[in-house]
Amino acid sequence: MNDRDENSCVYGLRQQARCLTSVYNDSDSSEFLAGTAAPNGENYVHLLTFDDSTFTARPTLYHHPHEIWDIAACPFNQHYFVTTFTDNDGEKTSALWKKESVESVDQMLSPRPDSSSEDLTLLTTIPSKQIQKTMWASHGEQNRLATMSDSYIQIWELDSAHENASNRSTWKISSEDESKYIADMVWSPHSDEIVAAYGSTVAGWDVRSGKTTFEKHRAHPASIRAVDYNNNKPHHIVTGGDDATLCIWDTRNLSSPLMEIVKHTHWIWDVAYNSVHDQLILSSSSDTLVTLNSAVSVSSASYMGEEYDDDDESASSYEIKERPTDGFIKAYDQHEDSVYSVAWSHSDIWVFASLSYDGRVVINRVPTSEKFKILGI
């Protein structure tokens, strides 16, 4: 088992890339989508199917006409995804695409088809410009999308055929400093709330009313670049920014962060909570590292730990086992350029992928020892 800890699957996109997402698929194998961002020439969306047994990734390429800045997989249909890209006029916009599933024996045998690429079906384009990022609603009606541009957030609703996107609401962030732009946002999995970061501020909005739910100025001493929402624990978010620090917040009590993790030496570009074991937090940084941290004490597992104790006493046959503790688990240094994106797999909770600017995708697993600690084995 231990050999597998050391293993990691590396895949090159051959072009620069900034965005990576995990596909909500039905099968057991993890799938990731990565979009390339070559300024001129051909761009592709790479579908990487990760084979856990051989620790390899099988790619499927889909031709994408523009350089891709952001990509988001649809949570209810594994064939849909949204990309944000620069269109022919040089404007950034978003579109919903459908990919055909390709199952061919040939490709199984030769993992790197050189030139063959599939085509994507354009379903609809979101009629807005200057979009920086698009994401799916992770709570409530699923046919909703949120887009963010430099200073405002918009909510869109897709019709049943997914052919039209109509604007539900738009709100501008109200910042004293107009020059601050929105760097990242996340849709709360617990309520219709969007949490976004701009400048050094992190704030939440109610999607329906557009009203601010909370606001924390100077959450970091420098700009915030990434934010994520805890899937298991309402009101818990994590932010990462230019000060190379991860902060975990309870949005009900923002006077100080619940926990600060300093493991990077440059800006943090992406953070991700594990959707099941939310003590596991990934962060990626332009210091070329991906770090995996454990924050048990402020995760939903901190409650479960106590229940465990009771069980232990009644059974009293357990050995004293190592409990998961707070702190640094591992740094992954397989990248050589800034790592802009990191994503947990939706099929295998222990698998995650990271993507650096030079187009390198690295798929890793949580170290077995840590996994056992969490599972209490």
């Binding site: 620069t86 040089g90 700009s223 230019d242 210091d287």
Partner: protein, 851 residues
């Protein structure tokens, strides 16, 4: 091999070896028969070997050597033999003398025994002849005594009557107690019964009189004590007596005009008056209380009669000696050898004890309260007149309690109480001193002198910074080192009773030591708190951060040590070692070993605080500059420029601003952390604050590389290969004029591209801080450019800007040339290869670029 030794020598040698305990040497080196000192030496073989192997002159030399060696050995042996022989002779002499002495002794002993026997017989004879008469004398003596007693008894009623008439009640009581048992014994004889009756009648009257005298309003407490003693001897009921005693005495105490609560409180008076008053209170009130309590104890609580008596006798003489002048009647108590005591059951005793404590502790409490009031620490202990009145008062009270108030100490635990008061006072004094230091420092920093002076114009007045650092340090050092220390050492050496004696001194010193430690950390805390408050403010405020770091580091390196050295000198009088006259005695050497650990601890504390201040300074400046870069770059007006009017004519203004700001920062840091000598002439050295001690400087490459990897817990394979690059001369040449891809090295370095640490540790020097900032700026530039889509005009602008930066920023990169080179070159590469900017019309641009 050993077989080959001559037959005579071997057994002899073996014997000798056995004798000297070295027989066990194994013949391991049997092979080496040529070793002349070895046990297996074979002379014949050695000789033949020499003859064969050496030239004549060598042989002659060897011969000479051997002869000398043999002569030496011979001499050694002779000396040994002689020494042993002389020892043997002297041993023989001693033995002979011993034998003759013993023979004499036996004869003498016999003589002695005979004499003793004679003496014994004579003694027994004399004893038997005198025994008859001795018996007779004894009998006569008994009769005489009895007659005397009888006579006394017969005369007793008359005597008592006389005493009663003349008022000599004590005498009467004494007679009575002396004869009581006799009268009881002879009760059956009518004569005695009559006498007894008569006596009782008289004594009853006496008792009445005594009681009366006791409750007289003008009776002094002394009379009360005496009368109580008499009543006890007269078997008055002890429970009620004790109650009455307490009641009477308390009334006396209440009336006393020296009651501390009134006497000490009444007016604003000079320190001299206060001390005098304190002494008076001690003499009048405290000693009164002491005597009362002591008397009570001996009346009603005689614990161990013998020991107690001795104690009382001793302490009363003490009291009397002290109070001879003022209250002579108190001296009379010492005339009685021992105070009488009532016989009480255990239960009654506990009751009496409780009564005592309950009734008198309020008064003692009152005394202590008054003392505490009087020794309240002034708000500005340093400004108070020296020596502190408080010390004298406390000393006065302390000695009064500890030396003259045994009973109070024993029963009411006054000693512990005063000890606690002393302790509280000491820690209070220290607290107020240390708090003064902290508050003062906060005042210094919070006064925002620097900020106030800089708010208007961006350029910093170097003089202000300089004087600020110097003034603050001097002030604090003076406050802690000189003023407070002096006060403390005065306290110690004032000879005050509560710090005299080694144990008490040690306690105080220990207190000083621990409070000093607390004080250091308080200062650090206040600095840290201040720093965290200013994080969000302008760059001018950040300067405060920088200055704070300088302060902390200076403290770590110099002032902590100096202060402790001062303390050692002043407070620990005997120098640990004689100072070496040939060596300048350093501060560090003067610190006594007790304080060494503290010095280390507080130095570390300051060093750490200083470093964190410095890092936070560098970080915050970095964030600010990053904001600036980002704002400028994200401004669409230039990146999307399409008209020819936007043709770049000069460097973007933001870069000029940033470079100017870097210049300012460099200047400020240079002032706060002046450089070594070689670069001093470049900076305005007039204003530089020279640091007495330089930090042990580590080589920058070590710092840059290893910390990066240690912090991340990662070791990359490139470490070794990179360290070899360090020595590559190309990295030290000025400018990044290396063409890409022309040599193998650049390919290799690309392969093993080291992570450039952007947010690293910083050293306190302008070069280190600035090169760190440059790294931050360049990295930010690179990162943000990657997110942008540029037009060709914008691209040209970027080209110009990078070229400008390459030239201008180079001067800041004194330290980490290699890192810088990587950073800049990486950027160049990125931009020229279209790696960074997303070029909308790349083809055109490339074409234009080629032209």
């Amino acid at each position: 091999m050993t077989d080959q030794l001559p037959p005579r020598r071997k057994p002899r040698n073996d014997l000798l070896r056995n004798y000297y305990g070295i027989g066990g040497i194994p013949a391991e080196n049997a092979a080496d028969i040529t070793d002349i000192d070895g046990s297996n030496f074979d002379a014949a073989k050695y000789q033949s070997k020499l003859l064969k192997g050496k030239r004549l002159d060598a042989l002659v030399n060897r011969d000479n050597e051997l002869v000398t060696e043999i002569r030496q050995l011979n001499g050694d042996m002779k000396t040994l033999v002689y020494e042993n022989y002389s020892k043997f002779i002297s041993a023989t002499d001693t033995i002979r003398k011993m034998r003759s002495n013993v023979e004499d002794m036996e004869k003498e002993m016999d003589n002695l025994r005979d004499h003793m026997d004679q003496v014994t017989t004579k003694c027994s004879e004399i004893d038997s002849s005198f025994s008859d008469r001795r018996e007779k004398i004894r009998r006569l003596d008994g009769v005489h005594n009895l007659l005397k007693k009888l006579q006394f008894i017969f005369e007793l009623p008359n005597r008592l009557q006389q005493c009663y008439a003349s008022g000599a009640y004590p005498q009467a009581v004494q007679y009575c107690t002396r004869t009581n048992h006799l009268l009881e014994h002879y009760q059956h004889l009518s004569v005695f019964r009559n006498i007894e009756m008569e006596c009782k009648e008289i004594m009853g009257r006496v008792q009445e009189k005594v009681k009366e005298a006791m409750v007289q309003p003008d009776a002094t407490s002394q009379t009360i004590i005496e009368n109580t003693g008499l009543l006890i001897q007269l078997k008055e009921d002890s429970t009620s007596l004790s109650r009455q005693y307490i009641q009477l005495q308390i009334e006396k105490l209440k009336e006393s005009k020296y009651r501390p609560s009134h006497y000490l409180k009444d007016s604003e008076s000079t320190p001299e008056d206060l001390v005098e008053k304190m002494e008076q209170v001690n003499m009048e009130f405290l000693s009164e209380l002491e005597i009362i309590v002591k008397a009570y104890r001996s009346f009603f609580l005689p614990a161990q009669p013998t020991e107690d008596g001795a104690k009382i006798g001793m302490s009363t003489t003490n009291v009397s000696r002290r109070s001879l002048g003022s209250a002579s009647q108190k001296g009379s108590i010492s005339n009685q050898e021992e105070l009488p005591s009532a016989e009480l059951s255990d239960e009654e005793r506990t009751q009496a004890h409780e009564q005592l404590i309950n009734s008198f502790s309020p008064y003692l409490e009152e005394y202590f309260h008054a003392v505490t009031e009087m020794i309240k620490i002034p708000t500005e202990p340093l400004d108070a007149p020296r020596p502190l009145t408080q010390i004298r008062i406390l000393s006065c009270a302390y000695s009064a309690i500890m030396e003259d108030s045994r009973a109070l100490c024993d029963i009411l635990l006054a000693g512990e109480r005063i000890g606690r008061i002393v302790e509280e006072w000491e820690s209070g004094l220290l607290d107020s001193l240390m708090k003064g230091a902290v508050a003062g420092l906060q005042g210094w920093i919070l006064s925002d002198k620097i900020v106030a002076n800089q708010e208007e114009d961006a350029s910093v007045d170097p003089g202000v910074l300089t004087t600020f650092v110097i003034d603050t340090e001097e002030w604090l050092a003076n406050f802690v080192g000189m003023d407070s220390l002096q006060l403390l050492s005065e306290c110690l050496q004032s000879g005050a009773s509560f710090v005299s004696g080694k144990a008490k001194k040690d306690i105080f010193l220990h207190q000083i030591q621990s409070s000093l430690l607390v004080h250091w950390s308080l200062i650090v805390q206040s600095i840290k708190q201040h720093i965290s408050n200013i994080q969000a403010k302008s760059s001018v405020h950040q300067t405060v951060c920088l200055v704070a770091s300088r302060l902390c580091l200076d403290f770590a390196e110099i002032w902590v040590i100096k202060t402790y050295a001062q303390f050692s000198k002043e407070l620990y009088p005997n120098p640990r070692r004689s100072s070496n006259p040939y060596r300048q005695e350093e501060d560090r050497d003067m610190i006594v070993p007790v304080l060494q650990a503290d010095v280390e601890k507080s130095s570390d504390l300051y060093r750490e605080a200083g470093q964190s201040c410095l890092v936070s300074y560098a970080r915050n400046i970095g964030y600010m500059l990053t904001y600036k870069v980002e704002d400028a770059l994200r401004d669409n007006s230039w990146s999307m420029a399409t008209e020819a009017s936007k043709y770049p004519v000069s460097v973007s203004s933001v870069w000029k601003d940033i470079v100017a700001e870097l210049d300012t920062i460099e200047h400020i840091v240079d002032i706060v952390y002046p450089l070594d000598h070689e670069s001093e002439e470049r900076t305005g050295s007039d204003f530089s604050v020279s640091r007495v001690n330089k930090l042990g400087s580590r080589s920058p490459t070590d710092l840059g590389l290893t910390t990066a990897n240690q912090r991340l817990g990662v070791t990359s394979p490139s470490m070794t290969s990179l360290s070899s690059f360090n020595n590559e001369p190309q990295f030290n040449t000025s400018g990044g004029h290396r063409s890409f891809g022309n040599d193998l090295l650049s390919n290799i370095s690309k392969l093993f591209q080291e992570r450039v640490e952007i947010y690293g540790n910083v050293e306190p020097s302008s070069s280190d801080i600035c090169s760190g900032l440059v790294k931050v700026i360049l990295k930010a530039y690179n990162e943000i450019l990657r997110e942008l889509t540029l037009t060709e005009y914008a691209f040209w602008q970027v080209q110009i800007d990078t070229e400008y930066l390459r030239i201008v920023l180079w001067k800041f990169a004194r330290n980490e040339k290699r890192d810088m080179w990587q950073c800049v070159s990486q950027m160049h590469k990125a931009i020229f290869l279209g790696f960074g900017g997303h070029l909308q019309v790349l083809d055109q641009i490339l074409r234009a670029y080629e032209q």
